[in-house]
Each structure stands twice: as C-alpha cells, then as structure tokens.
Symmetry: D2
Subunit: 391 residues, 4 copies
Amino acid sequence: MAIEASNKEAGGGRIRLGMVGGGQGAFIGAIHRMAARLDDQYELVAGALSSSVEKAKASAADLGLPADRSYGSFEEMAKAEAARPDGIEAVSIVTPNHMHAPAAKAFLEAGIHVICDKPITTTVKEAEELAALVKKSGKLFVLTHNYTGYPMIRQAREMVANGDLGEIRVVQAEYPQDWLTEPAERLGSKQAEWRTDPKRSGAGGAIGDIGTHAYNLAAFVTGLKSEQVLAQLTSFVEGRPLDDDVQILLRYHGGARGMLWASQVAVGNENGLKLRVYGTKGGLEWTQADPNYLWFTPFGKPKQLFTRAGSGAGPAATRVTRIPSGHPEGYLEGFATIYAEAARAIRAAREGNKPDADVIYPTVDDGIDGMKFIEASVASSKAGNVWTKIG
Amino acid sequence: MAIEASNKEAGGGRIRLGMVGGGQGAFIGAIHRMAARLDDQYELVAGALSSSVEKAKASAADLGLPADRSYGSFEEMAKAEAARPDGIEAVSIVTPNHMHAPAAKAFLEAGIHVICDKPITTTVKEAEELAALVKKSGKLFVLTHNYTGYPMIRQAREMVANGDLGEIRVVQAEYPQDWLTEPAERLGSKQAEWRTDPKRSGAGGAIGDIGTHAYNLAAFVTGLKSEQVLAQLTSFVEGRPLDDDVQILLRYHGGARGMLWASQVAVGNENGLKLRVYGTKGGLEWTQADPNYLWFTPFGKPKQLFTRAGSGAGPAATRVTRIPSGHPEGYLEGFATIYAEAARAIRAAREGNKPDADVIYPTVDDGIDGMKFIEASVASSKAGNVWTKIG
Amino acid sequence: MAIEASNKEAGGGRIRLGMVGGGQGAFIGAIHRMAARLDDQYELVAGALSSSVEKAKASAADLGLPADRSYGSFEEMAKAEAARPDGIEAVSIVTPNHMHAPAAKAFLEAGIHVICDKPITTTVKEAEELAALVKKSGKLFVLTHNYTGYPMIRQAREMVANGDLGEIRVVQAEYPQDWLTEPAERLGSKQAEWRTDPKRSGAGGAIGDIGTHAYNLAAFVTGLKSEQVLAQLTSFVEGRPLDDDVQILLRYHGGARGMLWASQVAVGNENGLKLRVYGTKGGLEWTQADPNYLWFTPFGKPKQLFTRAGSGAGPAATRVTRIPSGHPEGYLEGFATIYAEAARAIRAAREGNKPDADVIYPTVDDGIDGMKFIEASVASSKAGNVWTKIG
Amino acid sequence: MAIEASNKEAGGGRIRLGMVGGGQGAFIGAIHRMAARLDDQYELVAGALSSSVEKAKASAADLGLPADRSYGSFEEMAKAEAARPDGIEAVSIVTPNHMHAPAAKAFLEAGIHVICDKPITTTVKEAEELAALVKKSGKLFVLTHNYTGYPMIRQAREMVANGDLGEIRVVQAEYPQDWLTEPAERLGSKQAEWRTDPKRSGAGGAIGDIGTHAYNLAAFVTGLKSEQVLAQLTSFVEGRPLDDDVQILLRYHGGARGMLWASQVAVGNENGLKLRVYGTKGGLEWTQADPNYLWFTPFGKPKQLFTRAGSGAGPAATRVTRIPSGHPEGYLEGFATIYAEAARAIRAAREGNKPDADVIYPTVDDGIDGMKFIEASVASSKAGNVWTKIG
C-alpha cells in the first residue's frame, strides 16, 4: 500500500517547530512531539519547555535543542524566534489550559502559526478574542482535538455527509475514565493537581478535559450544530472543586437529540471514548479502544464491520491511513494526522495559498464552540439542570 | 453439576396453571409457556387465550387444553376455575397492557395467584388499587421483569449488596432497539400496532415497553431507590402517538446519579439492554446480548470476567443456574427462573408458609414503582424536561 | 414472531418418552429432560434412571414417575414398556458411553425409537452392528450432537450448501476446555471419573468427549467427508489413561484441509467450541460462547454479522428459532431443537411416513463416522502421528 | 506518565542511519522509517533505496537525502559510508528476502551495524554464514520480528518467565490473512509478485512471510525451544509455486505441544496473528488486532484483562510503553520499540559496552532458528507430513 499524500515524508523541507510546555514530567508534550515526528514533517528547533527555568533548560538538553533556543518564557521565545531568519514557523502549545491563550497570542502576534492543545482557553471570551486575533494575523490556528484524526472517524463523517445514515435522530457520546476515583490530586499526581484546579483548568473539570472531546467528536462526525444543553455536573470526590462526572442532554439543530456522559470516576474504564449515531436509514458505532473498526448497520440489513484500510473504507479514511489493514494504528497515529494536516496547511501558507479542500483540522472556531459548550453546561448545571443555549 | 433446588423438577406435584392471552400470533404467551415448562413446575390446564372466541378455541386446541377449560373470557375463566376442585392455582396474564389490571383483579378475587407481564397496568392509580387487592387477597402477585432472572444479574445484585462496589455513584442503563425505525404499525405489524397505541399500551411507548425494564434492572441490581427523574421523550416517526426514544437523568436516594436511554429507532440494535454500575470501590458491566458474563473491576486492579457457573460466581447466581459454564443460557432460562421462583413461593403458600428468604421475584410493588417512573417521566417530558418526583 | 412448525407445542398428543440413566447427580440427563420439555413434544413416563436400584427409585420419585414405571434395568424396562398399550414410544439413553450400545439394542429390538447421547458407542464395530439393527428394526435413531441444533449453525450449513463460500479450502475447528487441568478424577469429580476411564468412555478421552463434537460440527456445516486424519493425542496429567489434549490434521474429500484442536487442559476456556470455514468466495466464523451470531465475509467486502432471527438469517435458521433477535437463545434451545426434530420424525413414523425433507438430526451414520474418527485418531497417534484412513 | 528510558528522545545524539530498499511503492520501508523516527533516536542520512537507479534517486529526493548519499547499490553505499567520518552507524535492510544476506554482509564487513527485516535469508546455510560474520565483525545484528515489541507480548513473556503459567503444555499460534485468496500476483500486485516468487522469497511462501512471525512469537513468549515440526503446506491457488496455507504441529523441548496455522487465503482475516499459551497453572491469550490487551486466567479463578500501561502490567511491559492506558498503541509503536532497543544497544556499543540486561531484540540466532523452521517445515511437507527435526 502506498503512503498517502497527507502523510508523505517531508524530506529536506521540514517545518521548523517550537514548543511551549512539555518539559520533564509532562505527559502531553511528549505525545505532541511523537505525533509531529511520525510523518517527518517537522523539526523541533526551539522551546520554552517549562515555567521553571531550571527544568526548561534540562528538558531542552534532553531533547537536543540548541542551548540558545531554549527560552525561559514564551514571550521571550516568540520575540527571539520571530527575529531569526531561521526562526520557527509554527509553535505547539502544550501547557495547562490557562496558559493557552496568552501563549497563542504572543506567537500569533509574532507571525507564527499555532498548534494548540484543547480546551482552547478557559473562557469563551478569551477564545473569541483569540479568534479575532487569528483572523487579523492571517496565521493558522490548529486545535488538537486529536480523535478527529482517526481514519474511521473520518470514515464515519464521510458516511454521514454522504447520507448513508439518512437524517440523524439520536447521538450517543460517552467518555468514561476512572483515574480520579480517589482524590489523586491529594495523593501526589501532578496531572490530577492541575486538572482539578479551577485556576489552571477553568470552570470545567471532566467536562473540559474529556467532555469537550466527546462533544467535538459528535459534532465532527455528524456535522450537526448543538443548540441547547441540559447538564448535570457532579463532584463525587469530596473536596474536589471541579466536576468529575458529567451527564448531559443535547438538542441539535434539525431535531436530533443527544446524550453525553463523561466521567473520571467510572471504575474499570480507561479512556472509553465511544460514539454512536443513529439516523433514519442507518446506524454507526465507534469506540476508541478499537479505533480501527467502524460498525455500520443499514436498516434491515446485517451489521457490517468496516476496517481501516480494509473493505468498506472510503477515500476520507484512506487518505489518512499509513499501514495496511489488520495492523492496528492507534492514538499516536490519529494525533499525528492532525500534525500532518497542519503541515499541509502550513506548506500551502508558505506559498500564500489556502490548504487543499480535503485538508481537515479543528480550528479556532471549534475551540470557541467547545468553550461555549463548557460554559453553557456549567451554567445549566448551576441553574438546576435546565436547557441552556449554547453560545 | 447438580441441579439447584430452585430449578428442581417438580415430579408429580406440578402447579396447575391457566393463561389469559397468548393465543395464535401472539409473541409473549409462547415465551411464558416455555418458561413455565422448562423446570417442570407447572402444567397448563386452562386458558382464555384470545378475546376472539374463535381464536381462543383454536389456540386451546393447538395447546391440547381440554375443550371445557378453554374460556371465552377471563371473567368466566376465573369463576369456573375457582369452582373446580382441580381448578388452576395460578394464572399467567400475557395480554396487552390495558387488560392486565382487570384480569388480575378477577383472578385475585377468585383466590388464584397471579403471574403478570409488565408493565403492570396503564396507570399508577390502577397499580395501587391492584396492590391493595393483592394485600387483601393474600395471594401472590409475580411481575415478569424477566431480566432479573439472569444468573449474572443475581450475581451483580449480590456483589453490590456485599459492598464489593463500595458506595454507588453512577448508574448507566440503556435499552436500544431498532424495530420501530420505520412506521411498522402502519405496515402490518400486530406487535407494533398495540405497542404504539395509547389505548392499549398506556401513556408510555418505549418508556413503558423497554424503559421500565432498564429502570427495574438498575433498581434490582443496585438496591437504590430513584427519587427524581428528568425525561425527554421523543416520537421520531411522524404520526406516532407514543414515544420511540427516551433520554433520562435519574437521581437516586443517597446521591447516586443515573442516565437511562431507551430507543426503538437506534438502527443496528436488536435488544441492547445494558447496565453499568460504578461505585467508590469497583465497577460492574453487563449486557443482555452476552448474558452469561459479568465484568467486574475492583479499582486499581485488572478487570475480571465472571461467568455463569464459572469462577467468580457466587451463591445467588449459582442458585438459579441450570447448566455448566461455557454452555450459554439465554433469555428463556432467565424467564424460566422467574417462574421457578414463583413456583417455590406458590408451594410454600400451599402449606400456608412464606417463601424461603432466598426466593426473589418482582412483585406488585415493583409494578407500582415502574408505573410511577412512567408517569413521572411523561410528566417531566411534557413540562419541558424538569426534575420530577417519582411517586 | 410466530413460533415455527418444528417447535410447535404438541398439545394433547405428546410423545411418551422413557429415559435410561440420568438419575440423581448426573449432568446430561437433566439437560435431555429440559430439552425434551421445552417445546412440549414429550411426556416423560418411565425410566431406568440408575444402575443403582436405590438411586433409580429415588430419582424416579423426584421426577414424579409412577412407581411401577421406574425400572431396575433397561432390559426390564424395554420389555415391560413394549408390553404396555400406553408404553413409551421413544427412549433417551443418557448413560456413560459403554452402556449406549446395549441399551439402544434392547429398545430397538422392543420396537422403540431411540434418542442417544454421543459418542454412539465405544467401538466402530459396535456402532456398525447398531446401525444394522436400526435398519432392520425400522425404528428411528437420533444421536444428540446437540450443537447441530443451533440456528446459526443451520444458517452456516445452508450458506455453504448455497455456495456462498465457493469451494471450501480450509476448516478450523476447536473445542478447548480446562476442567481437567488438574487430576479431577482423583479429587472426587464423578464426571471426571468416568470420562477418563477407558472402560466406560472407550479408547478416547478428550477426543471422544469433545473432539467428536468439533468433528461432527465441521462435517455438518461443510457437508464434506473426511478421508484421512493425522492425530497427536496427549495425556498431560500424569497417570491419566486417556488423552486430555488432541491436535489433529484432517484431509477432506475434494482437497479441503482441516485442523482440529480439543483440549481439557487449556486454562481459561470453559466450552470454547469454535468453527471457522474458508472457501474461494467467503469465510464463516461461529463460536458457541456467542451462539446467536455468525460472521460472514464475502471476499473483498466488509465482514457481516448475521444474527439469529435477525437480518441475514435464512429459512434454515428461522425454522428452528423460538424467540426474537437480540434475546439470546442458548445451549438448551439448541439441544431442544434436536428433540423437536426427532418429534417430527416420530410423528411422521406414527403415520408410517418418512419425516419431511427439512427435518434434520444426527443419525446412526453420524455415530459411525464419529467412532471411525476416534479409532483412526487413536491409531494415528499410536503409530507416531501418521496419516490414517477414516473408516 | 513519564516516558520510559528505552524510548527516551535522543536529543542531539541521533544515530546516523542508512537504508537499503524501501523506495517508492514499497511497503515495509516506510514502516521502518516511521518506526525509526518515532522515538527520535535515528536520523536517516543515506540510502540505496531501489535496485533501479532512477527510482533510487527519486526516492532519495522524496525523503530529503543529500544527493551524494543516495547510492546506486548497497555495495557502493557500504564502501562510501564506511569511508566518511560522518558515515552511517547502522543500516536498515528492507529489500525482498533474497537480498538480505548479501546486503547485510556488505555492511557488517564495512563495520556498520545491521537492522534487517525478516526472514533473515532464504536458506539456513546463508543464515549461518551471516551469523559467523556477525560474530567476527563484533557488530550488532537486529532482526525486526516486530511483534516482539508489543508491550503486552513483553508482559506475556515476563509472566511465563515468572512461572505464572506453571509448566507450559499447549501453545496455539495462528496468523490468518486473506489477501492472496485470488491470484493477486497475476492481477498486478507488486507485493504479491515477489512474495509468491521462490527466487525472491525463498522456499517458503506463507510459512516464510507470516508463519515465521507466529513461530518466533511463540518462542519469544514461552522461551521454549522447538525440536520437531510436522507440516502440511498447501498452495490453494492454482499455479502458485509457494504455499499459501500452512498447518503445523510442533514439539517443544520439555514436552509442550503446539499447533501453528498461517494462511493467506482465509477470507475475512486481515492480519489475525494470535497466540494462546496454556500451562499447569494458568493461560494467556493475545491477539494483534487488539494488542493493548492480554487475557490471563489463573486456573480456577476469573479471567483477567491486563492492559498496556494499566492494572496488571509489569515492568517489562511498562518499560516499552509510551502513552497512558486506554489510548491504544499499535503496530508502528511495537515496531518502533525494536528500533528503540537497537538504539540502546548501539549507544552502548559506541562506548564499547554491551547493552543493559533489559534490552531485548531479535538477533541473528532468532533468524537462524526461523530459517531452520522454514526448511524443516518444507522438508516435512514434501516427505508427506512427517516429524522433522528443526536444525
């Protein structure tokens, strides 16, 4: 099987990339770096890897960054890199949530493309300001809702768009985990500390960390816009200031109805992201634990198992697949596809062009939509679980 | 493996059983008869099998009932059988919902035990009147919430009761089907006709037909009482007077929170009843499509697969299992267990005793609770999806 | 869903049935009785339930048999029942293997139909003598290779016969268990005792107990005749005189090649019977743990999930299904189908007719074929694992 | 979760890597490059990417290799790179099988470490000569039996070594595919052409391409040495000179018995590599389609699901895992682990040291063992499926 264009190795023209956050002990930074490397589209050449100067330096050394391109702050980095003839073309922002907006602002203003982890910011207002800046800057903003990079999610989206499901009626999304079943934030987990801290995470706990992923995935696949949310956010672990369980009803434009459950206290679930979509003509089911498969049932016919790079896979899935069917691709490959799509867009931008029509990645608008979802959900929950307009 | 006491074949002392409904072309009547036969506890000797006299007669002949014990109405049957020295000791009521209450009333008043399909009635009021009559009559009333007969559901209930899950936090129940995706009631399906007809089904469609099963199962396993419901009932198929999709939030006594989804338009689902329960110490998952398995995860330990009659199965499950592990039992066996449990209670009643403590079957109180759930859900939905007290 | 003809309840004309073996503490006798009861085709009226007179009597009382029809030996029973005007029409033989042939002989000679557990005898010679007697007697002989009663196995057979798989190339059958991992026969298991005892089981251990099931199932589905076997039989547990693990290569008429594995020491397997068949045009996969499903892949197309009573199920499966799709049927229902098929044949015989063409059950010829398979396998293994003609 | 040492990003000290084969249109070369890149341990700086000079040049340009380090032949490349101060330290050989030995020889003689695809050569003799050369050269030889890089395979190996399974009795390995069901080699598939051509593949078809993987995996996990093989190799597709289906019995040192099935004509299977191992105390099951899971059953206890980076995973698995549990790793990650292990060994060699004790990769000895397995299997099959000594 030939390697598809979007994943083509870059050869001599790698994109010069910087990183903010992702120093020693961080989790998501290493993921971004592996994703960036996989298709050979990027070269990491600069970083402000930690808010601790010591750790930033040590982390840069670990990664082999030149000492003079390891910066003590993102402000400094944005300025210095913008001034270099060989300065970075794009930056990956992988800090806790509250730093996303200020860092993105600094790089956009310096004329550097931004690839940013989600949720985009900690408030809708911040997200909208950022969107305005993106527009003004003419630079790219890529939000790493990485699950949209899975080939079978692309397949699902294509099938819905092709009308294979008919008119959508019911959307069931869930994302159960169990890692916060106990008060891990008081038991030494750095990840748990910031993810349960409103100052660093924003107003949402589980809803921001994983609920937005499920929400975004449902929107990505169905193409439907959510109009209203009715949410019940719960903190089951005593003393935890943010929600660790989220039970939600959704109303979509056009009449489809959704349920969304996200939990960090559902014992026995690791990262159980699952999406089911039902329409007048057919139904789809996908689960992240087995991402290479997509179940499709045309009404009245046997259920069919579509496989990545196998029978049933259409152009949208094939375009972003790297290896033959039956050899599983996983989380990193899906994540890498976001980076590969971003690379196509950045290369087009180099020439002053828009990316090709088939390039797909989550944008600042998806980020705003996610923040509106979080805010509306928090508001709905506080108001006693009443329908609340999104946005 | 020895056969357990609750399923012991009856020998010479079979219980004399009658049936109301279940004539030619009916579905659930045949299920009840197979369930009654499996453990050899009952002998079907009388029936009012159809509201059509012709069909009642023909159906009785098919089943080999004596001609003089095939009745034209349940009123006639109750009276005549009560007068016979060899009259029926119990009756199975397997009509559409709206006939449950009048038929049950007739037999209870005639001093005959009642085994009744669910939902118990079409209103809470009717159910409460029936409960009063049950109490007054001193007769048994067994409601065939058959899923409570599955061995691994008994196992789950026992584990929750034993504290293996700790304090329950989250309950996820669902029951998706797809058989009403199209307007089957206008395409010649007799089942679809009465199940979408408020006159025969009551105020609930999917919620009464399958939502109550999911609700009852969650209550059975967790032992938790639901206090409030927030429901969104939808009729996706144009012109259908009853709901075909149900999205519900539940609040349980003690703080647990539940979601419940039941649908008759979820393409690709046959009878996807599934229950997941999460507590402070562990989580359980069970699905009707593979009923011989129960997943249990103690927090921080590997997920374990408990199997019917296999490792991990405790006394509550073993008591109601018939065949060795690895040889699947199914829907009929679970249904038969309700009949076997009823038989133990009826035998005890013959002697003027209460049934042994380990005999478990759904009662008229479960029936009332189910009706309250339906009524509260319908009310919540009509009021714009607001929290509504159950009962 | 209407109940199909083959499973129709019998009404007044139940077949009078006797049983040999199956007394207290036995496993398979109770299974046969439940299977016979499920579709209401039989009435158990006589028995020689144990070789111990005491136990026979007590067992008969348990089952409510009239005292005068509980016999001390099968010889006595055959004679007495044949002499009664209301004597049994058929007998179920559920003893250890070595008693099958003498008991069957007694009843056939008394003019009584025989339903017999497998393997049919302990030697080919015995089986052939029995076949001759069956022919001479004009009576029916039904061998309970119960897995052939599963609806999706009927479906698989029909699909192969219809050519949906093209020409068969590869057959993979397996039946792993783990209950004899330790020397259970010396730890008090009655089942283990006789099943590992050559005097009662014959020359084969695992191969006779479960290997024949897998072998028969492959033949039933593919319609192919095995010509040669190359077998390696192993006794892993020290001191066990019969094999507890069986590894086999098979050559089928026409060029297909098979592998068959049966084991009683494969830890983690309960009754893992599984069949996979691959042809030039398609492939099929079925496993007993989930018997309501059949995977079918047409070459180059997505895998499809056919479900019992659901989409994809053809007439052969539908004919023997009792309940709607999504409500699982299990082991007992498949077993009951063998009894239901036998009932149709016995009813036809009452009128002097052959059974209808769609009635399918394993016969004495399947029994001979199974014994030839066992003997050839034992011989192949003893000769150092060389190709050995079957029969 | 911190990234483990073996996968640590290399920073400034990347290993200079060359590649032989893997030009435009090839499949496995791109896989090797992604695997080499993932953990940032290597930098690809030279290549002889195709036997066609044109294609070699174009492929090198695609990959951004300097023009002067794109060579027309591996001989030239070995010589030139050995002469450069910044010459490659290691080479990846990803050609069709018949070129492995000559290319490896050239680089070893030039003092360059070799990473080579499997099977190692086309004959045992060649493999043994290569082994002698490896020894003489003092250079590393890493064979990419990539499945040994899956974390849960490492887990399985560790558990067997720890005695969790007791003494191994039965090993079941299989690797079904279906891509050669039809004569793809005559329908334009380049992959099919060389893989069914004895001149380029050697004496084995399916047995060399996938059978060796299954064989190697079983040996890797169990630590058992195979002593004898009894093989039946079949070419089901007319005119195909090499086997496309392989049915094998194995005898292991110590008395364990194995079955191995590999097929390229099993319709519905993509890359169904599966391994099951049963011992006196427990059983293990793993399948490549869901590589993040490992089933473990201690005898008499419930089956447990061990997950990559989750509960149950021990040090051997954790050491080679990159991302948290529940986020699936796949084929490329396992492949990358082979490269990461090789990198540790190469770095140690730079210092004149042996690699740390926990570094694990398949060596030239595994290659010889694989070739002996192929040759013995071909011989056994030709001799009429008789036991044949391996080696």
